[in-house]
């Protein structure tokens, strides 16, 4: 890290000195009230709000920075008044906050031509259209005008402050297509910055090392750029993701979806990773920041050196990279109906859901079913009536089926706020002048399935001791569950600690995981959503693992009511496991290509396992081994329980401690206590 980058990191991340340039908070309803009075149509609101947000920005240039654009207005103006929102929620299913989010746009659609040409083209097309379509194109042009105008104000400030390098860059981008790698980075910064101002969130970065490579390679070849200079640019660029992120909406600070994908398999079987891939990993390694969140696509020809660089990142305790296995994911996406060329181009949404840049308006996190709940309900209500374990499994399958259907039924009439700016970077929408909120090439839904390991362990215990050796009578178990094990500590301990557990490479548990995930896949198979898409089942949990756990009564694995479920695709929190190898083996057994919405196995490694270079190389091998076994997605944490406990007591001394939460990394001390506790309890597994 150069002194300049170190200085910028101190300025933006540690001192947050740029916050001094922020304007006071505004009345978030100031526009919504006017819109409501005029009963403005939603498209008009979205475009006008966007232009207004851009106009409210005050250019600011900080010492030593070379990539500009920093948020100064902290308030996102609402599109609708609270009363209007209530009415919308009554009439529709609003996904999360209502804004288009969690997709990956194709930045090259604007980068390749520049905003001036894009705007001219919109206005020209508007002349040949009529009515709503013409109005829509003009509104899109207005947004681009507002971005160009803000860029002009930045340019003028740069001139005024004698920052010639910045002024030169801004006289090129974003109006015209970038001609150099630094210009491309500045252009991306502006495009991405503008997305947040449009109210959109979980704005992912996509396959950065692919679409940026031409700029990088050209500069390297012409000698304009050295490796060190490129690294410095990338580091400064990565820093831009950490400037305004406290203003981005998410469940928690850090949950902002700025995922960046690297590497991957080409359709011809070659590996797409390049020098830029490696530089991005190196940049992140040195910066030690939670954004952008690094994802790495791997396949059987991925060089071990890339795994090794990834493991170096893990060693830093960042909670990423997260690995996705092309050998499983690409065929799965093709089976789901994605065109092969698109499947090969997949990236991840904010957390881990597999989506297609520029083509997917999938809502991969639209809902979740509780696998643990399906088992709990079957045991509590139907155990007496089930003469065989197979009968009980049938009941579980029925419950999964019912949960899938009731979840989807509750999601009818989905409404998303228009996103005219994002639509410019989505295939089909851009050409047709159609808003992406209404759909794009792919409009699939994804359902998470929470509490898999709890569900498996509960079934395994029932099979072994209720139907197997009969050492637990049905009524005895039901009484224990109904009373939350209040009067039977022995039974509780036996179920909790002595029964077969998923994660021990024990067939007595693992075959049930295979079966449950197949049942989940079967339940969504052939279903269609109202947008014409399919339903993808997945192994993720997002924050549902907390919500579902709160509502879940005692389960037959010895889990008491309200006790936590594991996040994503992970062993139960109190299972005593043999070690990392058996965890990988257990979690590779299910047919993950059938439940490929996304959702990683999380492997918690004690940080001593990464304490020297040789050990890091071995961890890289361990990661590769999971992929070789057929794992779909893996994320590792290097943690030290003592450090976490100490940080909870003494947050001031651990401001920089980074942990993975469910699909993103955040600063431990900034998390709500319940998340902190969950992460600490997760470390029981550290192996």
């Amino acid at each position: 890290m150069t002194e300049r980058i170190a200085e910028l990191r101190r300025f933006f991340v540690e001192q947050r000195a740029h916050h001094a340039a922020r304007q006071p908070a505004r009345d978030a309803q100031e526009l919504a009230r006017i819109f409501a009075q005029g009963a403005a149509p939603d498209v008009q609101r979205a475009a006008q709000r966007h232009s207004r947000m851009l106009a409210l920005e005050m250019p600011v240039i900080f010492p030593q920075e070379r990539l500009v654009f920093t948020r100064t207005n902290p308030t996102l103006l609402a599109l609708f008044t609270p009363q209007e929102m209530d009415a919308l929620r009554r009439a529709h299913t609003l996904h999360e906050q209502g804004e288009v989010c969690n997709i990956c746009v194709d930045y090259t659609r604007l980068m390749d031509v520049g905003l001036q040409a894009a705007k001219d083209s919109l206005l020209q097309r508007a002349q040949h259209e009529h009515g709503e379509k013409a109005a829509y194109l003009r509104l899109q042009a207005d947004i681009l005008t507002a971005i160009l105008e803000l860029a002009r104000r930045y340019h003028d400030l740069a001139v005024q402050e004698g920052r010639d390098d910045i002024a030169r860059m801004l006289s090129r981008v974003p109006a015209y297509a970038p001609t150099t790698f630094p210009e491309a980075l500045q252009m991306f910064r502006i495009l991405h910055f503008a997305m947040w101002l449009g109210g959109n969130y979980h704005n992912t970065v996509g396959r950065f090392d692919q679409f940026m490579y031409p700029y990088f390679a050209a500069d390297m070849q012409s000698g304009l750029l050295s490796r060190d200079a490129a690294l410095e640019w990338i580091q400064e660029f990565f820093l831009t993701f950490n400037r305004d992120s406290d203003l981005y909406s998410g469940m928690q600070q850090g949950d902002n979806g700025q995922s960046l994908m690297l590497g991957g398999l080409n359709p011809d079987g070659t590996d797409s990773s390049n020098e830029l891939t490696e530089l991005c990993l190196t940049a992140s390694l040195k910066l030690r920041l939670i954004d952008p969140k690094i994802n790495l696509r791997v396949h059987k020809n991925t060089p071990l050196s890339l795994y090794r660089l990834g493991s170096e990142l893990t060693r830093q305790g960042l909670g990423f990279p997260q690995y996705a296995n092309d050998e499983v994911v690409i065929p799965a996406l093709i089976r789901y109906g994605y065109e092969p060329a698109d499947a090969y181009n997949y990236t991840v949404a904010a957390c881990w859901e597999f989506i297609i840049p520029g083509r997917g308006m999938d809502i991969p996190n639209i809902g979740a079913i509780s696998l643990a709940g399906a088992v709990q309900q079957a045991v509590a209500q139907e155990l007496m009536a089930c003469d065989t374990f197979d009968d009980l499994l049938q009941a579980v399958r029925r419950n999964i089926h019912e949960q899938v259907h009731s979840t989807l039924d509750s999601l009818c009439n989905v409404y998303l706020f228009p996103a005219p700016y994002l639509s410019l970077m989505m295939d089909g929408c851009a050409q047709a002048g159609q808003d992406v909120s209404l759909g794009c090439k792919y409009n699939n839904y994804g359902l998470h399935g929470t509490g898999l390991s709890t569900a498996v362990d509960a079934l395994a215990a029932v099979r072994a001791w209720v139907y197997g050796d009969g050492s637990i009578a049905k009524q005895q178990l039901l009484n224990a569950l109904a009373t939350d094990y209040a009067d039977c500590p022995d039974l509780l301990a036996r179920l909790r600690f002595d029964a077969p557990k998923m994660g021990n490479n024990d067939p007595l548990a693992d075959d049930l995981a295979v079966l449950l995930l197949d049942a989940f896949a079967d339940a969504v198979d052939g279903l269609r959503n109202e947008r014409g898409g399919i339903i993808r089942a997945g192994t993720g949990s997002a924050m549902y693992y907390l919500w579902h756990a709160n509502d879940l009564p005692a389960t037959a694995d010895g889990r008491r009511a309200g006790e936590a479920l594991a996040a994503n695709y992970s062993p139960s929190l109190f299972a005593r496991l043999k070690g990392p190898v058996s965890i990988l083996q257990s979690f590779a057994k299910p047919d993950l290509g059938r439940v490929c919405n996304g959702g990683p196995l999380t492997l918690e490694l004690h940080d001593t396992m990464l304490r020297n270079d040789q050990a890091v190389a071995k961890v890289a091998q361990l990661v590769k081994s999971y992929m070789d076994m057929g794992g779909h997605q893996l994320q590792l944490n290097a943690i030290n329980r003592d450090t976490l406990l100490e940080a909870r007591e003494n947050p001031g001394a651990h401001r920089n401690l980074i942990v993975r939460v469910w699909g993103w990394s955040g600063y431990f001390v900034e998390l709500d206590p319940e998340y902190q506790d969950h992460i600490i309890s997760r470390t029981e597994h550290a192996v």
């Binding site: 190898v581 058996s582 083996q585 071995k618 361990l622 081994s625």
Partner: protein
């Protein structure tokens, strides 16, 4: 034949080449003051009780046949490691360290994941305790593993030269501890002379089995240039030497003593930082690294 082990550790990354499974043999002739595996010392099964999570319900001592002879905390003064309290504990914080099993059983268990460890360039490591103390058991287990399983042993070298020579013959990789080159210091901190160990080290230096020398670096005991130089002097030029590994003392070494019902009372100053000097090894042309 039968042996006794206290753990099989998965995914070990510091116990030899590649990723390995490590078998911990129970029983050790040395009493190193910094030992972090106190349950590896005695060759008999023993009770371990976690210091965290006890609810004080008292069930353990209700079922304990030895409780009548006196109880300290939540364990019997004259515990026979019968194990009755283990399943009585509702928190499962008690366990018996020390599983007796035959070489066949152990080999079979190691074979379960042998293909995995082979695929990641690893294998099986025998550690302890002291494997030399159960040399026949270890060697029989080894003979039952297919030849493509890479085998390593981590030993203090404290055992007969005859057993040591058989180890050197049978194993693919040997990790030999060098705790103190000065016999007085060795005696003071490990309870034994180093004469045997040095003899075995010389044997290793003359042979062709790949080996590394490991130095547990203990503050104020052996973290001196004199020790580093003496080790380098002893092993340099050995054709099969793969390098020297330095394992700095860590303050968590004492963590398991309370679980084993023992007190951790090292006579060295455990708070003192350790002195590391790899230059000496470089001067002797020996590769060294800190683990």
């Amino acid at each position: 034949m039968t042996g006794i082990i206290f753990d099989i550790h998965q995914g070990a990354v510091h116990d030899g080449p590649g990723i390995r499974q490590t078998v911990f043999l129970k029983g050790c002739p040395l009493r190193c003051q910094w030992c972090h595996n106190p349950e590896g010392l005695s060759p008999e099964p023993e009770l371990l009780v976690s210091t965290q999570g006890c609810t004080g319900c008292g069930r353990c001592m209700q079922v304990c046949p030895q409780a009548a002879l006196g109880v300290v905390g939540n364990r019997a003064r004259h515990c026979t490691a019968c194990g009755q309290c283990v399943s009585a504990c509702s928190q499962r914080i008690r366990r018996i360290a020390g599983e007796q099993l035959t070489a066949h059983e152990l080999a079979q268990r190691l074979m379960e994941d042998a293909a995995f460890y082979r695929s990641v360039g690893g294998g099986v490591t025998f550690s302890g305790g002291e494997p030399l103390l159960q040399a026949d058991f270890v060697l029989e287990t080894l003979s039952l593993l297919p030849p493509d399983v890479h085998t390593a042993v981590e030993t203090s070298g404290q055992g007969s030269s005859e057993a040591f020579a058989r180890f050197a013959q049978a194993f693919d990789w040997i990790m030999l501890d060098m705790k103190a080159m000065d016999d007085d210091i060795h005696h003071r901190y490990t309870g034994s002379s180093n004469a045997n160990i040095l003899a075995n080290a010389r044997l290793l230096c003359q042979g062709d089995t790949p080996f590394v020398v490991r130095i547990p670096v203990i503050p104020g005991v052996n973290d001196t240039n004199a020790h580093y130089r003496a080790v380098a002097e002893l092993v340099h030029g050995a054709p099969a030497l793969q390098g020297v590994e330095l394992l700095p003392y860590h303050r968590t070494a004492g963590a398991k003593y309370a679980m084993a019902g023992r007190a951790y009372r090292p006579s060295f100053d455990a708070e003192q930082p350790v002195f590391i000097n790899q230059d000496i090894f470089t001067q002797y042309g020996i590769r060294s690294r800190v683990l």
